[in-house]
Subunit: 447 residues, 2 copies
Amino acid sequence: MAQKPSIPKGTRDFSPAEMMRRTYIFDTIKSVFRTYGFAPLETPSMENLSTLLGKYGDEGDKLLFKILNSGDYAAGLDDEQVRQASKICEKGLRYDLTVPFARYVVQHQNEISFPFKRYQVQPVWRADRPQKGRYREFYQCDVDVIGSRSLLNEVELIEIVERVFAKLKINVTLKMNNRKILYGIAEAIGHADKMMDITVAIDKLEKIGLDNVKAELAERGLEAEAIAKLQPILELCGTNAEKLAKLREVIGCSETGVKGIEEMEEIFGYVEKLGLQLPIELDLSLARGLNYYTGAIFEVKAMDYAIGSICGGGRYDDLTGIFGLPNTSGVGISFGADRIYDVMTGLDLFPEEVNFSTKVIFVNLGEEEQLASLKIIRTLRDKGVAAEIYPEAAKMKKQMEYANRRQIPYVVIIGSNELAERKATVKNMRSGEQCVVDFDAVATVIE
Amino acid sequence: MAQKPSIPKGTRDFSPAEMMRRTYIFDTIKSVFRTYGFAPLETPSMENLSTLLGKYGDEGDKLLFKILNSGDYAAGLDDEQVRQASKICEKGLRYDLTVPFARYVVQHQNEISFPFKRYQVQPVWRADRPQKGRYREFYQCDVDVIGSRSLLNEVELIEIVERVFAKLKINVTLKMNNRKILYGIAEAIGHADKMMDITVAIDKLEKIGLDNVKAELAERGLEAEAIAKLQPILELCGTNAEKLAKLREVIGCSETGVKGIEEMEEIFGYVEKLGLQLPIELDLSLARGLNYYTGAIFEVKAMDYAIGSICGGGRYDDLTGIFGLPNTSGVGISFGADRIYDVMTGLDLFPEEVNFSTKVIFVNLGEEEQLASLKIIRTLRDKGVAAEIYPEAAKMKKQMEYANRRQIPYVVIIGSNELAERKATVKNMRSGEQCVVDFDAVATVIE
């Protein structure tokens, strides 16, 4: 019985053309991670629900995909119990890479050499309502170092951002903030309790303007005096050093705030001394994952393409506490592969060689010619050149169309004339040019 | 509340040490696939249960991991319905890569250029009882070409087997059989209906001996005359060509059988003309997935390590029929990554560079030294060398222990003396040797 095949909503097939582009992105990112001494880690797709539940808020709990217990899941349960997911499901699909990483670190703490530098590139699943750009299965691409408070780790991550996007040829700006500075601002104006409100309001500055931000702050319960104190911060401009100097004037009374400023000064100091080219901007409106990060916060934006952040992260001081290992500070960032894919597609940044899986195809013109072709193909493959022969002696037109559709850049033709002279005709499918060379020389004309 | 963290039974965390080895295997296999013009494909982890159910037999259906519908899965269902998995689950986790591949080919048949050469390396999930070497989540590593009946495809897969295991340095034998020959044998002795029984009996020859096999065949309903006809086949020996010649004498009356012999002769002919070094053995007892394969059958065994088959596959003529696309022949093989891992670990075949994620670590001796180190590290990373600095100026002993535990082969020391002279001490941690070189020359002493 034939079924009309389809896939679950919010999921995707990745065709060879898409996969070659995605693989290029992942391979580039991973190769940079490795250059910095980060090692790969993989955790299971399924975690116990006890590991996942309560880690992503009430909303997150609802978005977990739960796996029905295998065997007779309803055996021994009364009707009411069968209606409770907690009774019939013990496992759920990974919702992000962070919680499984924390679980891994705690579970394997005695085998790990800290500081532990790991990267992890795996899919995650969320039962979100599918919509444009939001999928129920997508890859995350995380890099973290855990077990070190040194700001050199932040600097290393900044270098990774610089190197990854330089390799991908995407112009980016790195926006940075620091949770301690945000707390310092709130504390300095006498509203340590309102850090979140203040940050949310600052975040709207560009969109709604200074006066409206002030009105919103008043609405959120800040008195005029506090708002007046905030004014210099809302008007902050200049270089990062100038911003930090101005900030120090305003929030110097907050010990935490000063600590945050010093952290940023140290980080920016290294960036300058090492001669990094990446544009970095201190952006006080950056509030990414605020209830989670405790120090530096990162966010990367593409400069030539309008899309949200394509990479982000920060310093956290208690990732593993929930699993019983307190005081283990770490810092990490995550690359958004889907958005990077969109930017690179939109700006046509993929290199030519990502467009084809085969570099050269030999036309199949019969048994004798085929054997000669296969022998040359073997030597090409020895050199790492992706080569193949059309598997049947089909019509020339059909074979050329196949080469075209697959965007194969070179076609080699060995007919009976060529065979007699041990020569091959090599056609460059981009330029249309062709030349005749000795069997041995085929490799040399394929750039 | 601290929980004792754990993972679901039958699943695994892959530590960096394991991941580096696994990555080496996968990267090697994929690089060979690409050399043959195969392109990557990925399908979603979840498929509709309607896609999966009924494809793996009753036992397989039971082993599917089912995903609870998101939202209020029990809403509007009576108690009896809630007890039926089919009412509360619409999706299941991928059980293998073959059915999703067939689904993909049918769903996207108008976008695909046939013959379609794809490889796919993704995890699959089975609710099997966990036991040694059997996991509930494991990777499959498939390569198939679909839409071509040419035996060159079989030859190409044989070349892939040769090249992959040569690269991995595993000595293997490729065992081959052909479903048409098995049918021909059954037909020739007048028992076309008993192909499976005959194959199962032949399979036991080595274990139980000729007499017992004959007894078993009699038990399975073959009369003495038929068993006598089978005798020459049970005693088949010699080269593949000799075996095929003998077979032709016995089963020449079966059209299908002769077709199978001719297929094998053509395949072995190419293998010889191309000068393949891989040992290939015609093995009539090979019955892998018999109700599924229609032509050549492959199985690869490691010669120096006792473990089951580490790679296998065959030709199928109706993979996509179940989804409404009949008569699409294909051939493929699948590499068993877990077993290959075990063989390589057992025989100590992993190359040295798979044992460490960082090639060189700089000891951190304070702020000035650190900056000089970071600048050298940047140039090493530019050259693709995995390099790092210990992120804090901790005690020398602690830093050296860290380098040791992570098996980092080179340690660079820049203390105040070295800094003054712009020299670095480079220590080879394997040999214990060390030398002092100019800052610029660090890269040159790290092989």
